[in-house]
């Protein structure tokens, strides 16, 4: 199989910061807002270089969403920054009315998504945000897999007219996609061709899926791996095409199985080409304190869990 090389572990939130630095230099319409988490969002360089285009709103996320909506009136492209929990659940109605329903060109950029936020525990580990955001009409939902892809996605969404939810994480993880990649919103990436099963993964689970595919190969199982960085709009054609080829699907995400990528894929397959599917996701539960690796193992979100799910789904294949 095609080998992906870890170029060195990096956090995806630093990819956001790096993307913002580029946008600061290339797009004078881009402005950044932050709710007292500049260090966590890694946007200090953008602020240093563009102090007049940065708005520190303090610990007041509802106000941040409204100000961002207002800044679009006058032609700006606001990027809001805080943890995923405070970017979505805390301000759902503000996003719904002032941004989504009003069709405002706001980029909601959310760090520390999912269980890998780690030791801070369940109060901060949102596992519902993909569902919340994908249910909003007109909202684009993106969850890139590594530093390079997060940087590319950050730069790409500035060119997209309309509200976007960009989700990324806290821990340093494998950085394996090309630094010079072209990020196309809504376009799935086929990372590994296979014939027995398709693993459709998003975010931190993409790297875990590649490891699982390698391990499966040594057991004589050929797994196709698709990186779905854009959950909405979903690349349905890529999902259906792969399911037709392999006849079995695993979805993998750092999110509750309710409302996440898995459900979007299931809906697509059910209405077009039904095949057995297993969900790598949290099972309608809150998280807890622990290291990212411990939590991914305990909640069944690592490559071993994927491998096991593949063996399970293969038994259900027609």
């Amino acid at each position: 199989m095609k080998k992906y090389i870890d170029q060195g572990k990096k956090d995806t939130r630093s990819g956001y910061g790096a993307g913002m630095t580029v946008l600061g230099r290339t797009n004078p319409k881009v402005v950044a807002l932050c709710a007292d988490l500049v260090g966590s969002l890694k946007i200090q360089e953008f602020i240093n270089e563009n102090p007049e285009r940065f708005f520190q709103v303090g610990i007041a996320e509802a106000n941040m969403m409204g100000i961002a909506a207002g800044l679009t009136i006058g032609g700006y492209i606001p990027f809001t920054g805080t943890f995923a929990n405070f970017s979505t659940g805390r301000v759902y109605d503000q996003i719904r009315q002032s941004i989504a329903y009003s069709g405002k060109n706001v980029k909601i950029c959310a760090s520390h998504a999912g269980i890998t936020l780690g030791e801070d525990g369940a109060t901060h580990q949102i596992l519902e945000d993909i569902g919340l955001m994908k249910m909003l009409p007109g909202m684009t939902v993106i969850n890139p897999c590594d530093f390079n892809q997060t940087k590319a996605a950050t730069i790409a969404i500035a060119e997209h007219e309309g509200p976007v939810y960009l989700r990324f994480g806290r821990p340093a993880v494998a950085n394996f996609t090309p630094a010079d990649q072209n990020f196309e919103i809504g376009k799935a990436l086929l990372l590994n061709e296979g014939t027995d099963v398709t693993i459709i993964a998003t975010g931190h689970l993409v790297w875990q899926s590649l490891i699982a595919a390698e391990n499966l190969e040594s057991k004589g199982i050929s797994a196709e791996v698709i990186n779905i960085h854009t959950i909405k709009p979903l690349d349905e054609e890529a999902v259906i095409k792969s399911a037709q080829k392999t006849g079995a699907v695993i979805t993998a995400e750092e999110h509750n199985y309710l409302g996440g990528l898995g459900e979007s894929v299931a809906r697509t397959l059910t209405t077009n080409y039904p095949v057995p599917q297993e969900f790598i996701a949290t099972q309608d539960t809150f998280g807890e304190s622990g290291t990212p690796d411990q939590l991914m193992e305990k909640y069944g979100l690592d490559n071993k869990a994927i491998e096991k799910a593949v063996l399970g789904v293969l038994k259900r294949k027609a």
Binding site: M65, G66, I67, G70, L71
Partner: protein, 281 residues
């Protein structure tokens, strides 16, 4: 500058529009709409510097944001009679496939509306964002907003009030419709908010009052004074005492008509108290 008589005629006509709109669909919010009629007529026809036509970004003109979106009948009537869309379209208020949604929205592309409102407490943040954009654009025009007094019970307002003062958003005039009423009764009974003027001042705003918010001359004078106070390092708050339901005697001094439409007989009485001046839609 419009003559006072012309504005007074417009006030009467707008009040007719409001009661006719809510009567037709037997729903909507006449009380707050009638109470703010002088304010919004004056704002759009005497105070704001507006360009011809409508574009969303509103560069090089004053902007207005309605935060208490339920007084949409007033907003729609004033916008239509200012030329943003055909006056006849008022007859589609709250009907299926209309651009005149129950609460204002941009979704159907109604000219004059720049943000959806209705879920309360969000408008001041949006107005601040638009005011910040004006500063970035070196656009010296002003941003106005209107908020219900009951609406100030929403916490987001106080985040916004804190932000605007702390960041010297001095091209913003936030007006409070101080009618002392909300759906469940008097604000002093539902949730007493104390002295709003002192609260805004304590947060660092330049705060002024208009004692008779249903007197056109006082409104115009007050808003002109408010304009003079912009650009001096502080956001400006205008607390405007109004009477909910003003202009229709049986709707005044009560919260009962906050969100209730008049029946046929009540409509006739309301219309008889507000003569047709510029032609009904």
């Amino acid at each position: 500058m419009s003559e006072l008589k012309e504005l007074q005629d417009l006030v009467s006509q707008v009040r007719r529009d409001i009661v006719r709109m809510v009567h037709k669909v037997n729903s909507g919010h006449p009380g707050g709409s009638l109470g703010c009629t002088e304010f919004m007529v004056a704002l759009y026809n005497e105070i704001m510097d507006l360009k011809e036509g409508f574009d969303m970004n509103g560069r090089d003109e004053d902007l207005f944001f309605l935060s208490n979106g339920h007084i949409s009948p007033l907003f729609y009537s004033v916008l239509a009679r200012r030329g943003y869309f055909p006056i006849e379209e008022l007859q589609t208020f709250r009907l299926l496939n209309s651009r005149l949604q129950g609460h204002p929205a941009t979704h159907e592309g109604l000219p004059g509306v720049r943000i959806a409102s209705g879920s309360l407490g969000q408008g001041m943040s949006v107005a601040i964002g638009a005011a910040l954009a004006k500063k970035l654009n070196n656009d010296e025009h002003l941003v106005y907003s209107l908020h219900g007094d009951g609406e100030l019970q929403e916490g987001q307002n106080w985040e916004a009030i804190m932000y605007a003062a702390g960041n010297k958003v001095d091209n913003l005039i936030a007006t409070i419709d101080h009618n002392g009423q909300q759906i469940d009764g008097a604000t002093t009974d539902v949730l007493p908010m104390g002295d709003l003027k002192k609260k805004f001042e304590a947060f660092g705003w330049d705060t002024m009052e208009i004692k008779n918010g249903n007197n056109l001359e006082e409104i115009i004078q007050g808003l002109k004074a408010a304009k003079q106070r912009t650009g001096k390092g502080k956001p400006v708050c205008v607390i405007m005492d109004t009477v909910m339901g003003h202009g229709v005697d049986f709707m005044m001094y009560t919260h009962a008509w906050h969100g209730k439409a008049p029946n046929d007989e009540q409509l006739e009485i309301a219309l008889s108290q507000n003569p047709e001046t510029l032609g009904d839609y």
